[in-house]
């Protein structure tokens, strides 16, 4: 199994990408070969210095970098020798089985949707984020910001995509799906959630448990929380701020609050596209990179994308 790692993505690239790779290699259970995509002159010596010269690590030269503020579509088109463009090329042509980057999020999404493409039947790919539950478990919320406005049928598909992710990646059997809403009863909500409830209720492929509320994000009511990307993005950023608040109040080492730190979950998979693509936080450091590689590895091992394609073709 081959994983492509963008060495040039993220605020602390390439050093933290290299260190993350080192952490990954130090683990006994590393199974993948790594394609390190980046500027040879910068990345080569760093790999060398950090003892990363195993046969399963190879450097793929990418002389260009897509910056944070570049226009995604334009940059991907014009910088074909950038680490992100090369990563998607390798993924599309089957040289690698997954692509991981903490670079320009927009460019990653454009690459995922236009170079790799959505699974047939998927209306809109989505991104998700995990939510640490108070009981020690992990929930998933999607969409986390890719699709600001959503139609009921899209939310219904997110419920299926999220359920598959929860089942195969988080090992949750028959995951409970909740619709993020402002009241428990059917009929509550805004126009979109009011129309979405009956669609989810009729979907026999998911374990729909009804509406959940803002207070249920961290309890055990639902494993998969479905909402539009506007709502999901606000929740995600608010949850991230809980970690910052806890730290500022002196509880940064609390076992629960620590789980809100993005480093611990690594990156965000783009769900609903044909191959594994994982997007990292711009501020990713070593541990986040390591976790993203593990996540990519697991997506390949479980065959998640094939399972998604199967569901949507049925």
């Amino acid at each position: 199994m081959n994983i492509g790692l963008d060495m040039m993505g993220g605020d602390f690239a390439p050093l933290e990408a290299v260190k993350g790779l080192q952490l990954y290699m130090q683990n006994n259970d590393h199974a993948a070969s790594l394609f390190c995509i980046g500027d040879e002159a910068q990345v080569g010596p760093l790999l060398e210095e950090n003892g990363l010269n195993a046969p399963n690590i190879r450097l793929v030269h990418a002389p260009e970098v897509i910056g944070y503020h570049e226009h995604p579509t334009k940059a991907l088109k014009e910088k074909q020798r950038s680490s992100i463009a090369i990563g998607f090329h390798l993924l599309a042509t089957g040289k690698i089985d997954a692509f991981v980057s903490a670079g320009n999020t927009g460019a990653m999404l454009v690459g995922a949707m236009f170079t790799i493409k959505a699974v047939e039947g998927v209306l809109r790919p989505t991104i998700s984020t995990v939510m640490p539950k108070l009981n020690g478990g992990t929930g998933l919320i999607l969409d986390a910001g890719l699709n600001a406005d959503c139609k009921p049928e899209q939310l219904n598909q997110f419920a299926i995509l999220g359920s598959l992710y929860a089942q195969w990646m988080l090992n949750i059997d028959n995951p409970k799906v909740g619709l993020m809403n402002v009241g428990e009863e059917e009929g509550k909500g805004n126009l979109v959630t009011q129309s979405t409830y009956p669609v989810l209720k009729e979907n026999t492929r998911i374990n729909f448990i009804g509406n959940i509320e803002g207070r249920d994000l961290f309890n055990d009511k639902a494993d998969v929380i479905v909402c539009d990307g506007f709502t999901g993005n606000i929740i995600l950023k608010m949850a991230e701020s809980v970690y910052d608040i806890a730290t500022q109040r002196g509880y940064g080492s609390d076992a629960y609050f620590t789980r809100f730190h993005y480093e611990n979950y690594g990156g965000t998979p783009v769900l609903g596209i044909a191959k594994p693509v994982i997007i990292g936080h711009g501020i990713s450091e070593a541990r986040a990179f390591k976790n993203m590689i593990h996540e990519a590895e697991k997506m390949i091992q479980t065959g998640l994308c094939a399972k998604i394609a199967e569901q949507f073709s049925a």
Copy 2:
């Protein structure tokens, strides 16, 4: 100044309402006469037992109660001798200057909107909630759940209503208004926030500082946070759960987390209606009742409703 207090509203009524009143009376700065609206047989002895027989406390008999699960409009119509119906009647006829209840929220809103009515020019009244800032300050978020779907012009009015509340009730000079969104730049967001941004930008009556994100809820970027009631209600309930999490993790006495507890801010005013109406949490205990009475007192003293009417007639 006369304040009507629904003695029968809330899970722990009438006892906690009585105790809240007692706390209020123990304060040196109590300025209001209280109309205690409730069942004479239940409330009378409790007032007596708790030494609440001052001349500025009078009991108004209301033999009926609107329960939590009753249909608001139907209940208000059929139970004209309920504490909520009598409260609104007293407010509408000028016998009291503000009405406070922790009873059936729907009935309170129906009463506020149909017995008291919206200020002329206000498209939709709104409810708000306060957000404790890390720097010790207090922000306001609205709508907190009354209007799930909102049009840009409604959000623009919420910005004005929230600014007036922040200025007069929270003593914030020239309050900064932020639009709750998923990115900082103009153009980001869902269809509603994209169309709302330019409307807020052009409004010279508010101090619009642009978009804010989920991570900015507790920092000092904005004093007044504008969003639709769907978003606001999820944020509000998520913020309330922060207090529960902190308590469960053993930090319940932390000075900052404590400020997330609903008791400390009392109740939610219905903004945009002609007279002061404050709705309490169903689980209100003594301190919440006391704070709601103080809030009503301040709304009367500052003449907030008149200031709102002035703005909307200009």
